[in-house]
Subunit: 339 residues, 2 copies
Amino acid sequence: MGLRIPYKEMKRIIEKALLAAGVPAEKAAVCAEIHTDSSADGIESHGLNRVPRFIDYVKKGLVNVNTEPEIVSARGAVERIDGHRGIGITNALFAADRAVELAGIHGIGCAALRNTTHWMRGGTYACRIAEKGFMGISWICTENVMPLWGSDVQSVGNNPFCISIPRAGSPVVLDMAMSQYAYGKLGVYELAGKMTEYPCGFDEAGNATCDPAAVARTRRIMPAGYWKGTGLALALDLAGTMISSGRCSHEISVEKDGSCGGCTQIFIAYDPDLFGDYKEILEKIELRLAAVNSAHPTDASRPVQWPGEGMAHRREKNLAAGVPADESVWAEVCRLAAV
Amino acid sequence: MGLRIPYKEMKRIIEKALLAAGVPAEKAAVCAEIHTDSSADGIESHGLNRVPRFIDYVKKGLVNVNTEPEIVSARGAVERIDGHRGIGITNALFAADRAVELAGIHGIGCAALRNTTHWMRGGTYACRIAEKGFMGISWICTENVMPLWGSDVQSVGNNPFCISIPRAGSPVVLDMAMSQYAYGKLGVYELAGKMTEYPCGFDEAGNATCDPAAVARTRRIMPAGYWKGTGLALALDLAGTMISSGRCSHEISVEKDGSCGGCTQIFIAYDPDLFGDYKEILEKIELRLAAVNSAHPTDASRPVQWPGEGMAHRREKNLAAGVPADESVWAEVCRLAAV
């Protein structure tokens, strides 16, 4: 607990661990950067912490590190890409870049990636699209991890949905899973012996509960907005399948495929300078964000923020002070890197 | 309370009321049908019940019934349309149809409608896109009606977001506002002296509450999924502004413009037969929906449903038994129709 590792050092060790697992050099460099960025942004669950499991999946043959994504169909502003169960990060970056390319030609572009693997942190790709000056919408159809509203068994994905808005400063990035709390987050609450502030799931008696330990037992995690969260998750699952012709949530078996093994991801990009008035639009966006920051706060010491604003602050701090790392996870990744 | 009006009769009277308010014949027929459909689908708040307010807006000059939507810019798969504050329903139908047209050419199409007025029920347009055999994504940027997370003043729209999936039977239609409960729904609870099942907002002390009367006083309605609901609402507001160059939530004044006066709406359509495998995709969709219906229910008498499934059942029932109508609203619309 409580380590802080310099950014470059964390990236170097992750890269070494990936190389040791057989990941080709170029891909290892890219993935190490993305994992380190996620930790630097404060999303440790999909940063350093996810490296050992990724390597485990590589060793088990659930991720093929030696394949490339393939554009299998292309018409108009849409492309379908087969990920061939290659590396989730590099596949998704490829697809996000294709969406940007298509948007550059058609104003809006859509890349549908199927048969891929876990993309780690969803916001990475919406952010990538924004950094290229485009607006991004993306989502993933995960395996069933959440009960549909009215069911007591896992029957829908949590299907993170992302929207990114480019601007002069760091982009606005919404990265929103459809469960109110991630299982990883509940684990943190449970370890600390804390209750969640709002119901995080259902207990054995079928009652809404703030007790993460009860939800760990029932696996009945709470959807964000109750019926609304699973409604949106299901609609995204169907839409992803319709565009990609890939797998729905119920077609992924974690046991056989690993988490998100063979899954579907959608990337939509829009060119905000399509009509030549990008400058005025950016001014409108800045006015809107200023209105957010000046909305009267419930707590005077905590100004209201827009999605991604806190993340930019965190990264700046963590680049200066070192990227936070869990001591045991760091030791494990160092072991995998044989250092 | 408790009237049931034959579908054709309700449509006829609404049409007459609209004609009496000066709505041109063709538009009156279309709007009467949409309002009646909404009531028939069980969405009375945006069906019959909204007719008097629409007519009030027409009389106040907030809606211009004699203008037409105008395509002001078009490039690639994207069009921007100025609604000239015409009738929200006919403007939005025009834009939804343009998105379908563009998707027919480019695979994916986007129509961005700005300077329009209230579209009534959001699901209408996603449904329209699906009925034409396309997949639809649409949303509206309303005026500020909900506090951003961390604020105690209305500072973001509830921005209904819709996804529709075409199929042989009635389409899957998600129509999801970003507040957990609509103000209209809370009024129903309050009248009945009932508490909501989950927190519907914050009371004067700043605590989450299930008391609709307290929320009517504070106007601090609960976002769906707490911080997630306002994050998504804000991202949709920014994205809508970026595509349309139209108004953000904070640029609409209900007092001056009426609810949603001058607002922005986005329509995205996708052609599911773009790659010639629509039949196989529809089969995958049906399997997914069957998996939804067979998910183990918490209550054995209530099978799990997909978004829009209950609506189709309701419409069938209401076409047979008559469309439900509130007695006083019906009397008011009859008065407006001078019958």
